[in-house]
Symmetry: C2
Subunit: 244 residues, 2 copies
Amino acid sequence: MSDRVLSPSDLRAALNAIGDERYHIHHPFHRMLHDGRLTRAQVQAWALNRYYYQSRIPAKDATLLARLPTADLRRAWRSRLEDHDGSGPGLGGVARWLKLAEGVGLDPAYVETTEGILPGTRFAVDAYVAFVRDRSVLEAVASSLTEMFSPTIIAERVSGMLANYDFITKDTLAYFTPRMTQAPKDVDFALAYVDEHARTRAQQEQVLAALCFKCDVLWSQLDALHYAYVEPGRVPPGAFVPSA
Amino acid sequence: MSDRVLSPSDLRAALNAIGDERYHIHHPFHRMLHDGRLTRAQVQAWALNRYYYQSRIPAKDATLLARLPTADLRRAWRSRLEDHDGSGPGLGGVARWLKLAEGVGLDPAYVETTEGILPGTRFAVDAYVAFVRDRSVLEAVASSLTEMFSPTIIAERVSGMLANYDFITKDTLAYFTPRMTQAPKDVDFALAYVDEHARTRAQQEQVLAALCFKCDVLWSQLDALHYAYVEPGRVPPGAFVPSA
């Protein structure tokens, strides 16, 4: 590693290169999902497990918010809590994901218990919340930068799933619509933070490592799903077994 | 769940029933390992990833030791640190695992960096250390009870690996020899602790849940290995790629 500080555009290019290699848009399970090659039961397993990720995002954001030193920063970060928890019951991203899970045939009360999720899901998601609690604020902010790539994966997922599954409706996928505008707003903030606070090459490397870590969090969730639920399917003891 | 407190022998039976269902001796990757159905490269991947688990056991034990209230308890738990870290360089369980990794053809310096381990390994192991830090001391102690089942899996693993792989020698597997006596000693202590401190049924249920959790930690590590390194083998970005 050189000591040369990367220009903002070089740093951006390095972040994008990580996404090109490690973002879960390249995971075989994602490709099966949007190509329509999964059964309804497998889509249920995805929705059930992904709910745990969604449900912990406010915990992740609150953990980070608690560490931000100024009202300006906290106010900006607070909008993420509003996006995910909404302004009332049934609103916000977490509730919308529950509707997605219900739309693919799961009992939302069961989904909310998070019983039946894969241990691999729980460990990966908990690692994300712990990262945001234990690392520097710079690394914590940078770990959110997978959202740089999320409009592309969401567009692929929504169009693919609508085209390829007769049990999926636009309404089921309503979760994703606001994310197309929320994610870019969040990315603008996080990138500006990173540009301002990653002043040394070592700090820039921490930013890049934080993005790698977060890609691992997303990727390993699909590893666990693929292993457990795709042919031959080795559901670990105690996890969700779809009804045939 | 009834409120009836289980007798020590009923509690023991409930713990054994969890092992019968959830201990990783039943995982397909373990069976492939001891049946000789893995390549040397796959055994390397196992040894590399498992090293991370071994290397964090002293951190787990120190975290728990720090929470124990009496010198008697701390002294008893300290023997685990002695078992794993030894009485000098090159001694103890962690060093012996490094020798195992070297014995199957890995560079021990590379293994020690823990670069190249699967994210699923890291997340599962870190979840174990976090559990021992964040849960009650009773649950933390109980999570060690997978050692009730380890003499059986070790005996299977050692005899199977010696019989089925020409690159494995008794010397390579020296890690396991002292474990056959250390594990039962640790189990006796932990079971006595549990019998004394789990006085309500709710506490006994916490003990059982802690054992389930720990089984998940072990099981999901084999899930990740199997998914990444067994046919077709989907090594995640950045993880160890064996040389052909």
